[in-house]
C-alpha cells in the first residue's frame, strides 16, 4: 500500500484557468481524426451534411483531443530519449493541471463520464478548464492502484458549452 503520498494527495481541488487549444478546429485534422476512428459521417466534411449543427463539425469527442503541443514548446520525445521509464505520453499542453508527483508509475485510462451539448464547428477555437476532483488509492486484485479523477469543461470562444468530461486515470 501507500503508493499515494500526502504530496500527491494535496493536488485534490487544484484547477487550471480556462485556456485555448493552440489551433482552431482544422478540416485536415478533423479528416485524419475521423479516418482514424473509422467514422465516415459526412457532417465531418461538408457544411451541407452538417447543416443541422450550423455547418461542418468535428466528431463529438474531438474537443477533448485538441490540446496539442504548441509550436515552439520543448520536445519531450528528445528530452526524455534516454529515460527507460519514459512511456511516450505527450500531453501537449495537457489539461493545464500540474503533473502529479507519481513518476515511474504506469498510466492507464480507467473510464469516463461525458455530457455532450454541441459539436465544435470547423474554424472554431475551443477552450478548456480542468480540476483534480479526487485522488485516492485502492487495493485491487492486481495490487494497489491510484485513481485520479479529472473534471474538464470544453467551450467555444463564444462561450458555447461543448462537453463536460469526468475522467478516471489509473496509476500503478
Amino acid at each position: 500500500m501507500a503508493l499515494l503520498t500526502d504530496e500527491a494527495r494535496s493536488f485534490i481541488g487544484r484547477e487550471s484557468p480556462p485556456f485555448a487549444a493552440c489551433d482552431a478546429v482544422e478540416p485536415g485534422a478533423v479528416r485524419r481524426y475521423a479516418q482514424a476512428i473509422m467514422d465516415p459521417d459526412p457532417a465531418y466534411a461538408s457544411d451541407e451534411a452538417g447543416a443541422h449543427y450550423g455547418g461542418a463539425v468535428a466528431p463529438p469527442l474531438y474537443p477533448s483531443f485538441m490540446f496539442r503541443t504548441p509550436f515552439g514548446a520543448p520536445d519531450v520525445l528528445t528530452e526524455r530519449a534516454h529515460d527507460p521509464d519514459f512511456d511516450g505520453i505527450v500531453m501537449g499542453v495537457g489539461n493545464g493541471l500540474p503533473e502529479l508527483p507519481l513518476h515511474g508509475l504506469a498510466l492507464l485510462n480507467g473510464g469516463a463520464e461525458v455530457e455532450f451539448y454541441a459539436y465544435a464547428r470547423h474554424g472554431e477555437r475551443v477552450l478548456q478548464k480542468s480540476r483534480y476532483a479526487d485522488i485516492y488509492e485502492r487495493e485491487t486484485k492486481s495490487g494497489p492502484m491510484i485513481f485520479v479523477i479529472i473534471e474538464t469543461e470544453f467551450t467555444t470562444e463564444a462561450g458555447q458549452l461543448l462537453l463536460r468530461a469526468r475522467k478516471t486515470i489509473i496509476r500503478r
Binding site: 463529438p60 511516450g88 451539448y117 458555447q160
Partner: protein, 158 residues
Amino acid sequence: MRERIDFEDVAVGDDVGPLGKGPFTTPHLMRWSAAMENWHKIHYDQPFATGHDKLPGLLINGSLKQQFIAQLLKDWAGRAGWVWQVKFQFRAMNVVGETLTIWAKVKGKRATPAYGLVDLDVGIRNEKGVESTPGSAVVALPYRGREPVPYPFVPPPA
C-alpha cells in the same frame, strides 16, 4: 447516420447496432496516435508494453474505443436526436489482433416536456465475448410529429 428516429419507435429491450470494428492492427493504433498526436508506447512498442508495463500485448487505446461508443449512439439517434450522456469503464484490455463489437440495449424510457429520454446499457465485446468497456448512456429523441431535439442541447428541467 439516419435523419430521425422517434421516441415512440423505441421499446425497452431493443438492441442498438451493433457496430463492428477491426480486426485491429498496429497501423490502426499508429493512425490514431498520429491523429491525436500522442505517442504512448503501450500501443506500438511491444518490448515496452510487455516488458516495462507488464501488459499482455499492444493495447487498443481506450481513447479510441470510447469513440466507437459515441459513433454507435450518434448514428442511432440521428440528426434529430442527441446523445446527451455516456459513461463507461475501461474494465478489460483489448489487444492488437482483436475484432470488437460495440453494442447498446434500451433499458428504459423517460418522458420530458420537449423530448423523450432513452436510457441504454452500452459496451464493447471482443470475439471471445469478453466485455471490456461496460457503461450506460442517455439519448434524447424527438416525439413523433414534433420538432427535433434542440441543438445545441438543452437539458430537461430538473
